[in-house]
């Protein structure tokens, strides 16, 4: 079979992979190559470049092939789409990864694929690329493999031994959306595969504690992705689904990808893209649940009548404006939990406040030094020299705090 030059195929297969949001390379086991091989992972992920879409480029994120026997409507690679097709061999992927890695362009590989021939065959090929990197080149950088829920669990299991992270996309926040937009996929099968991987990870961790040489299994855990705005699911639905996924499968991350118009789109999709800010608000709510002790129900309380989070203000401020009776919070006495609820106070600022107040009684000036912006915080706190008497109850507080609408920044080179 004659092949196009590698440059042309890279163009097609990187282009086809760009709708996956994740590019994380953090949180895996520490490795280095001082005793042989090539590469290292030191805990912290590294973004080697940023694209003008604001996304980090940490990994070589490509598809093995964009040929696909599935027909998912939101996907540019679906069977009935007219995009140009290409494929790499596992060997080519491994070689490309290394030549990028040696030049310090990337932290490793994120490999996914359209489904060719069968799910098993495709999964075998993905695992083979990772095997060449790990076994033949002794590659110690980061590998993220997308697994195919329909594939033989045995093959998926092998992927976990080569990869730092494995992921399966749940694709859509509701089962009805999945049935409608991804008719070849099955929600139960996806959750089954997530569950199996989750228990494999737990088992491997347990074995590692008892036997020093037990092999590592996906040390950076598993993640998943949901498309936002392709179906009718509201933010409340999405947050609810995400929190159930976090709970049931011990996921490291749930990624949100704002549905973006794709070339040669299918007719059942909305043409209008959801505002990018919606994706941002969902990530913020994700943060609130993971680091600020918000329960999913509380995020849902912050949504508006249509079940969506407000777009003009962040969910934490939205929650605070709805529950004004919880404020102001006294920075000199309040608990960590209560301080974390104050809009404008991050986890670090709260830590700083807690540490500082052992040494002094905080004044407003002190708080100004400990936080990024005093304006945002002021209506919700009191210090020894400040009480926001009327401010907290003002009806127009929201418009006072909402960021000014900015003109889209045009590029000035």
């Amino acid at each position: 079979m004659s092949r196009a030059p590698i440059l042309d195929r890279l163009k097609i297969l990187a282009d086809a992979a760009k709708y996956d949001a994740s590019c994380a390379s953090s949180g895996t086991a520490k490795r280095n190559s001082t005793k042989g091989g090539i590469g290292s992972t030191e805990g912290m992920g590294i973004c080697h470049a940023y694209a003008p879409d604001g996304r980090c480029i940490s990994l070589l994120k490509i598809l093995l092939t964009n040929h696909c026997i599935f027909d998912c409507h939101y996907c540019i690679n679906r069977k009935s789409s007219n995009v140009q097709r290409a494929r790499f061999t596992p060997q080519e992927v491994a070689d490309l990864t290394l030549s990028f890695y040696r030049r310090n362009y990337i932290e490793g590989l994120f490999l996914s694929s359209g489904i060719v021939k069968s799910s098993d065959h495709t999964m075998e090929q993905i695992v083979e690329a990772a095997r060449i990197l790990r076994e033949e080149y002794d590659f110690r950088g980061y590998i993220h493999l997308k697994t195919i829920p329909e594939a033989d669990p045995e093959i998926i299991h092998r992927a976990g031994f080569y990869a730092d992270r494995v992921s399966i996309n749940v694709e859509l926040p509701t089962d009805a959306g999945l049935t409608r937009l991804a008719p070849d996929k099955d929600a139960r099968q996806i959750e089954g595969a997530l569950g199996k991987t989750s228990s494999d990870i737990v088992e491997a961790k347990d074995a590692k504690k008892r036997f020093k040489h037990a092999p590592r299994f996906a040390p950076a855990g598993q993640s998943t992705q949901m498309i936002v705005g392709a179906d009718a699911a509201s933010d409340a639905d999405i947050v609810g689904r995400a929190s159930r996924l976090y709970d049931s499968f011990d996921l490291r991350r749930v990624y949100y990808s704002a549905f973006s118009p794709i070339p040669d789109a299918s007719a059942v999709l909305p043409l209008k893209r959801p505002p990018l800010i919606r994706e941002h608000r969902l990530y913020q709510s994700d943060w609130l649940m993971r680091f600020y002790d918000y329960r999913p129900q509380e995020i849902m309380q912050a949504t508006e009548a249509d079940g969506n989070l407000p777009l003009d203000i962040d969910p934490k401020l939205a929650w605070a404006l709805k529950f004004r009776e919880r404020f102001p919070v006294d920075v000199n006495r309040a608990s960590r939990e209560d301080l974390l609820r104050v809009p404008g106070l991050g986890v670090k600022a709260v830590q700083r406040i807690l540490a500082s107040r052992r040494h002094r009684t905080l004044r407003l000036d002190d708080v100004a030094r400990l936080t990024v912006s005093l304006t945002k915080v002021r209506p919700f706190i009191c210090t020894i020299d400040w009480r926001p008497t009327l401010l907290t109850d003002r009806a127009d507080l929201r418009s006072l705090l909402a960021p000014k609408q900015e003109q889209l920044e045009l590029f000035a080179a």
């Binding site: 003008p52 604001g54 069977k79 009935s80 008719p183 704002a258 118009p261 789109a265 007719a267 040494h359």
Partner: protein, 477 residues
């Protein structure tokens, strides 16, 4: 105080540092000065470069700490912050570190007081240096050169903001231990030969190789992984500020990628060419709208749209593939040969066609002209999917309890995927609005068969219709 007799009360001391990043040297000297009780305002710290010579001999000889001086105390947090802060290019950093160390002797927990200006400043320096190191890990770009004997040598040019080169040697050594590499900077150079690290004098950009063929692949990757539908220039700039761009091969592409982004997005949307805004709210309005529909190539042929017909509240909706030649001429569904055959079978099964809503998955007749005849052509998956917009509108309005899809195209119009008739016929599938979908063959399939095969298929068709009639009766209760 007897031990400190050689310390003069009003003397100033100057410490000349051998290197800008020599934290160990600073720590030794600072420890001695604290033990001699020299207050911060009496010590000047001089870096090697710049105008250090003016002062280097002006200060007093450093005192020897007394043998019984108490040990100098430092908290763990102070040490970890100070190590980084010492690498900052701020000339005041060593004075700040000494002042904090001095205050730390009186209050060992001072680092916890985050509102203290000195603590704030030193933490800021620490943060800047950590960020610069992190950006160095990210933005160093090696270029490969072949040396005599074919050995590969990877060389990078990088311009750090602070004195971080030596501190980060270990990171690159651990990562690229098996490679021969060099990092050249204006502050100095590092060379790793696979076994040992060598340091060299400051270098210039011209000392590094000017290109690498793999950079074309990297630039292609960078341009392709960028999604033009989401432009967030601000987010990119905050993490990859312009000052780094000059040494990043991919950064040259950014202006044109950004400029082209909005254009590319509108092209993508236009290429999809789907301007389905609001769906008409009545069957009549849909009937008018489909006449104008040109969303797929079939609509552009010389034909007319054929709307479904039947009661607007029918319990049964029968869906065929697309109008044929006769349907197109008459403008009504299922009036040609297949329609006549359907009528025969419906009657046999006891289903009253006049009480059903009869329509097609595709609204226009797709054909190729052969002389005077117009030959039927099957619609493609994409054309069926495009037309789903209309059939779903009809289904929403009629709200049938049961939908009978005849043939693979009709089934696709309902399900969005292609199913095998033989596998799914004779059983109910549930649709998302709660109604039931039954799938059977298209009557025109029977027309194409003859002999035993036709009889066999006709029997199956009858059986499917009979099952539908029974199910309808159940649903009606």
């Amino acid at each position: 105080m007897t031990a400190l007799q050689h310390v003069r009360p009003h003397a100033h001391y100057t410490v000349q540092l051998p290197r800008s990043d020599d934290f160990a040297f600073w720590r030794e000297r600072a420890r001695a000065l604290i033990q001699c009780d020299i207050p911060p305002d009496k010590v000047a710290w001089i870096e090697p470069s710049g105008n250090g010579d003016l002062f280097s001999n002006g200060g007093m000889r450093l005192p020897e700490p007394p043998a019984d001086a108490p040990p100098v105390r430092a908290s763990k947090r102070y040490l970890s912050v100070a190590q980084n802060a010492a690498l900052h290019r701020d000339p005041q950093r060593f004075a700040l570190l000494y002042r904090l160390l001095w205050r730390l002797q009186r209050n060992l927990r001072i680092m916890e007081d985050k509102a203290d200006p000195d603590v704030r400043r030193v933490e800021e320096l620490d943060k800047n240096v950590r960020r610069d190191s992190h950006k160095m890990h990210a933005f160093v770009r090696f270029r490969q050169v072949e040396e005599e004997g074919g050995a590969e040598h990877y060389i990078a040019w990088f311009e750090p903001e602070h004195h971080i080169l030596r501190a980060n040697a270990g990171f690159f050594m651990r990562r690229f231990a098996s490679m021969r590499w060099s990092i050249l900077t204006p502050q100095g150079t590092l060379h790793w030969d696979g076994e040992t690290m060598h340091e060299g004098p400051p270098a210039q950009k011209a000392d590094a190789p000017q290109g690498d063929p793999v950079e074309d692949l990297w630039r292609t990757y960078y341009a392709s992984i960028f999604n033009p539908a989401r432009l967030k220039v601000g987010a990119m700039l905050s993490e990859m500020p312009r000052k780094y761009w000059k040494n990043l091969p991919e950064a040259a592409l950014i202006p044109e990628l950004v400029a082209g982004a909005q254009k590319r997005e509108s092209e993508m949307v236009a290429a999809g060419e789907l301007s389905f805004e609001e769906r008409p709210g009545s069957l009549e309005a849909i009937g008018e709208a489909i006449e104008q529909c040109r969303k797929c190539p079939i609509g552009c042929l010389d034909n007319r749209a054929v709307m479904g017909e039947g009661p607007g509240d029918a319990a049964l909706m029968i869906v065929g593939e697309q109008p044929g030649d006769q349907e197109d001429q008459e403008g009504r569904p299922f009036v040609g040969p297949a329609g006549q055959l359907l009528d025969v079978h419906l009657e046999r099964a006891g289903i009253d066609r006049s009480r059903a809503y009869v329509t097609n998955a595709v609204k226009h007749f797709k054909f190729v002209q052969r002389g005077k005849r117009r030959l039927h052509q099957s619609p493609t998956a994409k054309e069926i999917d495009t037309c789903r917009w209309w059939i779903e509108g009809e289904r929403e309005l009629v709200q049938p309890k049961l939908v009978l899809a005849m043939g693979a195209s009709a089934a696709r119009g309902m399900l969005g995927k292609t199913v095998s008739i033989s596998k799914v016929r004779g059983q109910a599938m549930s649709l998302e609005d709660g109604s039931e979908l039954w799938v059977t063959a298209h009557p025109s399939y029977l027309l194409r068969l003859d002999g035993d095969a036709r009889e066999k298929q006709a029997a199956l068709f009858d059986a499917d219709l009979a099952a539908v009639r029974e199910r309808l009766a159940e649903l009606a209760q």
